[in-house]
Amino acid sequence: MAECHPVGFHWPMEAKRRGAKLIHIDPRFTRTSAVADIHVPIRAGSDIAFLGGLINYIISTDRYFPEYVVNYTNASKIVSEEFQDTEDLHGFFSGWNPDDGGYDVDSWQYEGFDVSPMPGGSGRFGAAGERKTERANERQDESLQDPRCVFQILKRHYSRYTPEMVDATCGIPEDQFLAVAKTLCDNSGRERTSAICYAVGWTQHSVGAQYIRAASIVQLLLGNIGRPGGGILALRGHASIQGSTDIPTLYNLLPGYMPMPKAGPHPDLPSYIDGNTAPTGWWSNLPKYFVSLLKAWYGVAANENNDYCYDYLPRLTGDHSHMSTVAEMADGKLKGYFVMGENPTVGSMHGALHRKGLRELDWLVVRDFAVTETADFWQDAPEIKRGEIRTQDIKTEVFFFPCAAHTEKEGSFTNTQRLLQWHHTAVQPPGDARSELHFMYHLGRRLKRLYADSADPKDRAIRDLTWDYPTEGEHDEPGAEAVLAEISGYTMTDGEALGGFLELADDGTTACGCWIYSGSYKDRVNQAARRKAGREQTWVAPEWGWAWPANRRILYNRASADPAGRPWSERKKLVWWNDDRGVWEGLDQVDFVAGRPPSYRPGAKAQGVDALSGIDPFIMQGDGKGWLYAPNGLLDGPLPTHYEPQESVVANPLYKQQCNPARMEWKRRDNPFHKAHDDPRFPFVVTTYRLTEHHTAGAMSRWVAWLAELQPEMFCEVSPELARERGLSNGGWATITTARGEIEARVLVTERLRSLRLKGRTVHQIGLPYHWGSKGLSTGDTVNELIGFVGDPNVSIQESKALTADIVAGRRSRGRRVVTSGDLVARIEEDATERDLPGARGSADASHGHKNGEATEGRTHS
């Protein structure tokens, strides 16, 4: 955290000054470890074994927070008999469908009550069927003894995650593990809270989503969620990565985390509403938010008799995530590609496969500060330098547009605390540099002109699109506040700015571009631009910027009070129930149903938000409880389970199933994998990470002299033992190779990356900062040439934190080799069978990589 969120790290250091304990779990001894109280090195890719060990410890030593667990989590819920655990099926849960390479989730449901999770997350695609929706039929055992209650299932699932198993799997000696477990438990409970901060060290795995689930279980058991000083803090990456998932330039989401319609299950508005609206919990409001979105996009054209223009929306037919799209591109199925504010040939996996895709395009548009490695793929690439590919043979037309910097345009970023902050224009952009707002707006106006008089029904969406934003200045820059006003929402009658999502209706009378941002333009005031100084406010600082939802700062903060509405502790109070005024009050905006007393219990037939009782802090869930066990919503199991990375050094010590069965795996000749474990050609564990001094793919730091001089050259970190074994010298050169490619790097031999002992076996690790590329004042080889396409099934995030590779002394022989061209293609053969139990993957089709575009396999007609 010290490296990648240094100013954010001020607050843990402030807590440490006041006596808090800082625990850092990381394969390397980093700048965070240097100031931590406890640093525990862990084998990259084995955190679920570690967190499972914590869960085992918390339950077996009774250190969980009983009142919190019983009242606020689904620990007491009884699960259906059909459910079978990984203990029974060698690493599989019940419901695995080998032909499809995925789980049917029906056997995971509660007994007597079907809970659908966040919309769109309902199991595999097209899981239809009638659902049992009355909460009255829920069965639970508050004593937590029933063998089929969640608590006992949890206990049994992690029964083998003992301290010994943690030592054997993660390389963490028992005494160190117990020190961490004890310290965490000592600092949790009624009077004390602990927080868990994570970022891509946890997410970039083929089991990434389950890493976070495991941490949620630990925090729910300890009662740390919804309370000040507690919680799980995702330390998001870019300035507005949170914003770009809330208002998602993502294939599977519409603004406000509503799902994009799927071809099969949602042919029309009613099927979409029914498929995605949760009968109970806050998501029962989905129709208001969805209709308001369509009104914002299609204005008067959208009305109740044309399903509010639902038919204008394109439909998904599977996984169209980044890696799937690039695989399609490499197979020549894409014509045009816009890359705005990203540098995939350095930042994304397998640069060579990306460049192969770019070579197949008709045209590519890149918008950035300077020509990036992505924009220059046609003349500056390893395969071109080796002469395997010739520039003249590349047919792609390439446009490079200079972009305006954040100081040359106005708009809002959403930071990692869901806080919208407005940045104003300081100076005008130079020359032809323009903002993306300008580019998209004027592109849209040109397309509206081109389609102005088209009668073709497919073009109605463009013609009816509301696109009349006011422009200002010599460059006709569209007014960003006008766009914010649309995002925040207005009444269709008189265009009045809405105060929040409570005012949204599903009858077409309100328009709102993103329901969770509703209220960010309340009273026609740009709430994101508020700048009341922090020192003039409480520590919650509600009048600086605006946080979604409804300027609330700590989510699920109802859980900071006990079932009767009294703060768990005076020291850690946040919100509480004021019985005489009949309202919730406190330091933060309350995350609960307004005016609902703690004593409220829903009636038998209660539906929607009324189904939430006074002790259901987790209002987004169908059952209002924190999920220790996820009956629905995750594609790879209701409980986090330790699986080895795609390329590991060891066999899975816990189960016969080596890897996550539902992982996304692109089986292609140009995306070869190593052996599942113990590959003699690639004996070392590699992890990749950042340096404080550089920024991601490097375009924003390797061109800046004051940053480039701090970390001038690409280097790798190796332990003294590995250096001795491979003849590497500090300050010298080394070449790192995988099946996908090879790179060279300077060598930094350091004791901060000592080798790990796994059951008596020594495992060497190689550390690779991934910032370098061929452009800039400081240049170097790109780490991501080494990493293949493999991803997590739930969010399709790549696995770049744990893989295997080889390292030899000296610079690379002749020009860098990549697997998509030249002699590296033919040489690699591997057998992929060991990753899954025999028969687990019925057909090649079973791996997600081949699943996208089911419809496109058949002939399509337009």
């Binding site: 330039t249 894409l334 816009f338 919208l420 300081a426 969406a461």
Partner: protein, 192 residues
């Protein structure tokens, strides 16, 4: 310069001041030059300070951007921000070098198919070319429905990448326009 400073006003010669004030060591104010006496932070004469937010990471530290005319003279931390209280990390502190760096290009570049070099083209012309290409690809790769008639209403011929470094308002227009065009392969850094 020091000496010209002195010659202009003989009494300005520090040694004479040294004698006058009986300042044996002349370690302090006696040895000041006129420039030092009039020293001021350059932002005192800035005619504008803009409230901004660091463009690098999601902590979202506040930044103050000082300008003199249409030039930026300093970008430092904003002490008012409850998140950062004026603090910055090396990247936030180097933002001046990013936004005023000489690496930034000011013109649109174009590489023709099979071309071996970039050439500059005007912005408006480039925008027209893009719009035309979007229309032609959309029209030629449109998928109205699947074989069994399930509506698809999309083009798989156009994709977009990027968003994490862009404003919410920009992400909104990108999602809104491309979805209206039927392009669904819209992705950003949340995947990597």
């Amino acid at each position: 310069m020091g000496m010209r400073d002195m010659v202009r006003s003989a009494t300005g010669w520090p040694v004479l001041k040294q004698l006058k004030h009986k300042d044996l060591f002349a370690l302090g104010e006696t040895a000041y030059s006129t420039r030092t006496k009039e020293l001021a932070p350059r932002i005192r004469q800035a005619d504008g300070v803009t409230k901004s937010v660091c463009p690098y990471c999601a902590v979202g530290c506040g930044q103050l951007v000082y300008t003199i005319g249409d030039k930026i003279t300093d970008i430092e931390g904003d002490p008012d921000s409850p998140i950062s209280e004026g603090r910055l990390c090396p990247k936030g502190a180097a933002t001046f070098g990013l936004v005023t760096g000489s690496h930034r290009l000011h013109n649109v570049l174009y590489r023709a198919p099979h071309g071996t070099e970039w050439k500059t083209i005007p912005l408006e012309e480039a925008m027209d070319m893009i719009a035309a290409r979007v229309k032609s690809v959309r029209d030629s790769t449109w998928e109205a429905a699947t074989e069994d008639g399930t509506p698809l209403n999309r083009t798989m011929g156009i994709a977009h990448l990027g968003g994490a470094t862009l404003d919410n308002e920009e992400n909104y227009l990108i999602k809104k326009l491309f979805t209206a065009l039927g392009a669904i392969q819209i992705e950003n850094q949340a995947r990597i």
